[in-house]
């Protein structure tokens, strides 16, 4: 059966390597021995599978290739950021030399051209590294297209401009199978929804950080998406929706746990802070439990990180005046206690 995406293909290749390694171990211990005909058949079959997967998905067939791929992923992300910045500053350096009509044509033309480049590169780059690069540049060009047109014609800034950006980011994410663009699209949706919620509550949309509770509705939306839209063909997309949804709950709670006056609630700030600190512990613990139960590693890790952050900030509130050695001893002992708890959780999941 042909794998639906690169991650599945890589998993298949890894399974073959693991099988061959274990087979060699069993043969060395005399537990099993394949005949020459069987060995030849297995080798021929695996060679064919690996060749097909390499041609279709550009997978890593060895440990060194896998390590290099990790480096290439980091480098391609940095290259994408640098190229995006290059396009941004290039525009600003030269845009004033052209008349308004030329500026409009150039901005729209470059946005369209970069989109075409993504489509072409996708056809010749099965690994996806260069496609990711081109996609981020195309997105940057479109963002600049809208921002610069707004500057040229003194258009009043509006949060509705985020919608087409989000739409393009999602289009690039789903047509090119790019988690980076999905993250960008999700960030756009988060910004738009929280800006709209904030505006209805008396906050100018560019000040959307002033009311952290504005992010809760979009968190609900992000949790809902993977439940109603199946993502079997897109590795890691579900996890991204869930992790961003969780961040949209936990980060505001962390802020409100220390800055209660920014809440919509009509309670004394100290009470609001207490409520959100308790809530933060509860939600991060719930995320760890739910993630462990469903096998959602992203939820578990995000929940653990925020649980520790809430814990340490609380320790600082309680014991910040203690001598430094005592304070850090308390922090270390707490971290060890959490480690022991997680070890127990892991052992229970292995038994299950």
């Amino acid at each position: 059966m042909h794998p639906p995406h690169r991650n599945a293909a890589q998993q298949r290749a890894d399974d073959i390597q693991v099988f061959l390694t274990e087979l060699a171990r069993l043969e060395a211990q005399g537990i099993v021995r394949l005949s020459d005909a069987q060995r030849q058949a297995v080798t021929t079959h695996h060679d064919g599978v690996l060749a097909g997967l390499t041609a279709d998905f550009d997978i890593d067939c060895s440990t060194s290739a896998r390590q290099l791929s990790l480096g290439m992923r980091v480098v391609s992300f940095l290259a994408a950021l640098a190229l995006g910045a290059f396009v941004f500053f290039l525009y600003y350096q030269f845009w004033g030399l052209f008349g308004e009509t030329s500026q409009v044509v150039i901005l729209a033309g470059v946005a369209l051209g970069s989109l075409g480049l993504v489509a072409w590169i996708q056809g010749v780059d099965p690994s996806g590294y260069f496609t990711k690069l081109a996609a981020l540049v195309a997105f940057t060009c479109f963002v600049l297209n809208v921002i610069l047109l707004g500057e040229i014609f003194n258009v009043t800034p509006t949060n509705h401009a985020i919608l087409p950006w989000a739409a393009l980011a999602f289009l690039l994410a789903y047509t090119c199978d790019l988690r980076l663009m999905l993250a960008v699209g999700i960030c756009c949706v988060i910004a738009y929804v929280s800006a709209r919620v904030g505006e209805h509550s008396g906050v100018y949309w560019l000040s959307l950080g002033k009311r952290p509770e504005s992010y809760f509705p979009v968190a609900a939306l992000l949790f809902t998406v993977p439940r109603i839209i199946p993502h079997q063909r897109f590795a890691g997309f579900d996890a991204l929706y869930r992790v961003f949804g969780l961040l949209c709950v936990l980060l505001p709670m962390l802020v409100l746990g220390h800055w209660g006056s920014s809440s919509y609630l009509l309670l004394p700030p100290s009470r609001i802070e207490g409520l959100y600190q308790l809530g933060g512990f509860a939600v991060s613990a719930l995320a760890i439990w739910l993630g462990a139960r469903r096998g959602w590693a992203g939820m578990v890790n995000t929940g653990i990180v925020f649980f520790i952050i809430f814990l340490f900030t609380k320790f600082f509130d309680w014991w910040g005046d203690l001598p430094k050695w005592l304070f850090f001893l308390a922090m270390a002992l707490s971290a060890i206690a959490v480690l022991v708890f997680l070890k127990g959780l892991r052992a229970r999941s292995l038994r299950a």
Binding site: F89, Y92, Q93, F94, W95, G96, L97, F98, G99, E100, Q103, V104, L107, A108, A111, L112, L115, G116, V118, A119, Q122, G123, A138, F142, N145, V146, L149, G150, E151, I152, F153, N154, V155, T156, P157, P164, A167, L168, L171, L172, Y174, T175, C176, S201, G202, V203, Y204, S207, K210, S261, L266, P269
Partner: protein, 273 residues
């Protein structure tokens, strides 16, 4: 349809539609009779300093330099970020008329810990050019000169008083010839009612702004901060040659600023003096 075809078709449609909507909005704003048209001098614009970031930007955008009269004794100086703080006319009653409600304050209880239900609102800001508010600022400067001069006459040997008089004269000269004559004098939610109150479209600009109101726990009084939503006016390419590039000194010029049907302003003409 293959993903590549979908990407090309849907992506191109998105980009073209977005540009079309944006340009249609611009065309609508600049069509028909403008909402207002005002001739401003170089005093009413902030000239860019020409630092590193600006030197890499070949376009030129000029922020409007507008001021507020904070109380009877002072008027603010213009800033590039277009923020006006605590205008005298924006009192509690005016805030209530603009929809700012206070939570937790009842009856005659004085201002205390604030928890505003609405801390920011979009409003329409009225900017007056060389009107009574500017005249008052000029009169205050003249009165300061007269006061310092009489003090110096009474103490002719005092170097400190001599320096204060010199400073007062300098301030008067700046107020008369250099500082912006554009003052924020009112705000409202409805354009028609504001225009009824300020019908002279060559003397009063009405532009969208954001009013931030916030209080500090335990302190009386509220900080009221106004910010124009589109403070930077792009200088069109056709007019660009009339103005030098920063960091060259600010030239003497007049600019015709027109405000369209969507209350989006643009620079229509520039004349060097």
């Amino acid at each position: 349809m293959t993903p590549r075809k979908l990407l090309l078709i849907a992506g191109a449609a998105m980009i073209l539609t977005t540009n079309a909507v944006l340009l249609a909005g611009v065309a609508y704003n600049r069509s028909g009779t403008p909402e207002s048209r005002m001739v401003l001098s170089e005093r009413e614009f902030v000239w860019p300093r020409g630092d590193d970031s600006e030197s890499e930007n070949s376009g030129l955008s000029l922020p409007l330099a507008w001021r507020v009269s904070m109380d009877e004794t002072q008027a603010s100086t213009p800033k590039e970020d277009g923020l006006g703080i605590n205008p005298a006319w924006l009192n509690e009653q005016r805030l209530a008329e603009l929809g700012f409600k206070r939570g937790g304050a009842t009856g005659d209880r004085p201002l205390g810990v604030d928890h505003l239900l609405m801390s920011e609102r979009g409003v329409l800001l009225v900017l007056e050019l060389a009107g009574s508010t500017w005249q008052q600022a000029l009169q205050r400067a003249e009165q300061r000169v007269a006061r310092q001069a009489s003090l110096r006459e009474a103490n002719p040997d005092s170097e400190e008083l001599a320096a204060e008089e010199k400073k007062a004269r300098r301030e008067w000269a700046r107020e008369a010839h250099e500082k912006s004559r554009l003052f924020a004098v009112d705000a409202g939610a409805d354009l028609a009612s504001l225009r009824t109150r300020y019908p002279d479209k060559s003397r009063y600009l009405i532009l969208p702004a954001i009013l931030h109101v916030y209080g500090v726990a335990g302190r009386q009084g509220l900080t009221r901060q106004i910010q124009l939503r589109a403070n930077q006016l792009h200088v069109p390419h056709a007019l660009r040659g009339l103005l030098p590039s920063p960091p060259a000194a600010k030239p003497s010029f007049t600019a015709t600023v027109t405000v369209g049907r969507k209350l989006e302003p643009w620079i229509e003409a520039v004349t060097r003096r």
